[in-house]
Symmetry: C2
Subunit: 364 residues, 2 copies
Amino acid sequence: MSNPSILILPGDGIGPEVMAQVTRIIDWFGDKRDLKFDVETDLVGGAAYDKHGVPLSDETMARAMEVDAVLLGAVGGPKYDNLDFSVKPERGLLRLRKEMDLFSNLRPAQCFDALADFSSLKKDIVSGLDIMIVRELTSGVYFGEPRGIHKEGNERVGVNTQRYTESEIARVARSAFELARKRSNKVCSMEKANVMESGILWRDVVQEIHDAEYPDVELSHMYADNGAMQLVRAPKQFDVIVTDNLFGDVLSDCAAMLTGSLGMLPSASLGLPNAEGRPKALYEPVHGSAPDITGQGKANPIACILSFAMALRYSFDEGEEATRLEKAVEKVLADGVRTADLMGPDGGTPVSTTEMGDVILAAL
Amino acid sequence: MSNPSILILPGDGIGPEVMAQVTRIIDWFGDKRDLKFDVETDLVGGAAYDKHGVPLSDETMARAMEVDAVLLGAVGGPKYDNLDFSVKPERGLLRLRKEMDLFSNLRPAQCFDALADFSSLKKDIVSGLDIMIVRELTSGVYFGEPRGIHKEGNERVGVNTQRYTESEIARVARSAFELARKRSNKVCSMEKANVMESGILWRDVVQEIHDAEYPDVELSHMYADNGAMQLVRAPKQFDVIVTDNLFGDVLSDCAAMLTGSLGMLPSASLGLPNAEGRPKALYEPVHGSAPDITGQGKANPIACILSFAMALRYSFDEGEEATRLEKAVEKVLADGVRTADLMGPDGGTPVSTTEMGDVILAAL
Ligand SMILES: CC(C)[C@H](C(=O)O)[C@@H](O)C(=O)O
Ligand SMILES: CC(C)[C@H](C(=O)O)[C@@H](O)C(=O)O
């Protein structure tokens, strides 16, 4: 049997720097735990545009469809800000999400004990925080048609379409309920059913799937504006949150910032399982390409490393090895090892991106 | 000359309770400051539905168009949750916004010194916070067509349309720039221009209006997801934020919760000025109808009272009287007078809704 395959797309900005540490960790699992992967590397985002004139080539797209998991660093940067919409770095990422049909985006917002002081929120509000946001990732206003800018008389008009089908809502709801069963068995669904019909359908379908298939899970519904408030007021009331593509974008970033350490947060984007039960999958840190610190050895590789841990868990069914990696990261943090973004008033040992890779490898 | 006219729409839940205190304050200004208003009261939301079968009657709508300012309490409640979309309490409010063409919704997020401990955020992050969110209120996905739920094959599909014209963006941008000039002269515009064409148009038009008419104001652009993060991380970086209807809904609630005291926050929704330079205007507290505490004398009337202060400032050009009222509220808070929602670990003097009205009148 051949090794499972991974396509690495480091992308732009700090993407390549943080991904370099992940590569070392993948190698470690091959050497020390006999978990071998066939790894190949390719371009996405601005890096792909520079070479191919598009933010994701058809060849790379085809490979992404074939491999067992994709690891992505980050896309975008000021250099590409004025590119035409159709070739912006983000389009590469959106194409991957859409064509791989990665409808379920898992964004844990977890507060690490050693870092609870980093949050702008009071410690008792966030310590021990462990939320999972499940964001629909292949539909909604990100992809709905009609869209674009056109002229009416002598005015420009900008249009996008929020569109959800019943089955699109049902499948992401199922994925949220499944996750909740492995956690605290609670799902809160967020929309604006009071002003949007697409929100009414969202609410109804989530409720129907619940009643028919997951009656054991505790389900509540909340308007997304109230959701933003409640996340700030008392985030620990939540276990799993399920919401659409656009609300998920904003609310998951809000939740991420509650933890105070964006450089720590991974994400998984999952599609439907194939014949062997393995979902199409893309893993990426929640943080962006951070052009301001690119090339300075300052980037925190942990979010990207924890994204690989999610790959171990969700793509390769290696939950124990994932936990091993997560524990190594926790230990390093508890020991006070800190990249620049984690340097707080409490001091700690400052390290570079590579040195953070070193100590995590040592902790493994 | 006749007195300026005010239409009071107390609405549902705690709306009537908090509005009762505002009425006393309006009377005080008539008696003591010779600022007389012609006040009439009518129904909106569930209360209007109960009587008329619609959440806003045509007669009430017509009066709202005629008066100089509308004060609204709150709409909605569990009793109305299962009503058809077209007659939900919220539709009454949305009809007022749309027909009065109240495109500029001003939502201050201000942290009161006496209440800084109430925030879930650390005191140094929020003390002295003073942001003004300007939310577009008459367009975007709230009103765009096509919309609704239809069948495709045997699936339901939910659709809403995000739509902005150039002039809709231009006028709310102007209102943000005007406000900024009276404050710290800084505007941050938020959208998702990286994924939505309507966001691209938004960004372009805001920039054009800036360059042509307000080059003296400092303008920046931010993606809305990053905006949510930055609000949580370091809210004091902002002065005026301008954004669309839906992002404004979520981001202003997020910002409101930073202050820790939702019961304190007013809002103004303004339209175009009439021949005398007076804009169509509706004032309402940011909080909702709070069905859980309705009828118990627990509601905090301050948000509604401060909404009337905004009316004094923006509709009646009585900035000094507005400040007088705001100062009275601040004094009462500094004295430790507290409705139930403001009772914290630091104690304070607990008062009912009416008693809070009493002490504010006394402070005036
Ligand atoms: C980069 C951008 C297209 C993307 C999004 O809006 O989905 C990002 O913000 C995210 O949340 O993954
Ligand atoms: C009640 C509801 C229709 C309204 C909105 O979504 O605009 C409210 O949330 C608000 O922010 O004023």
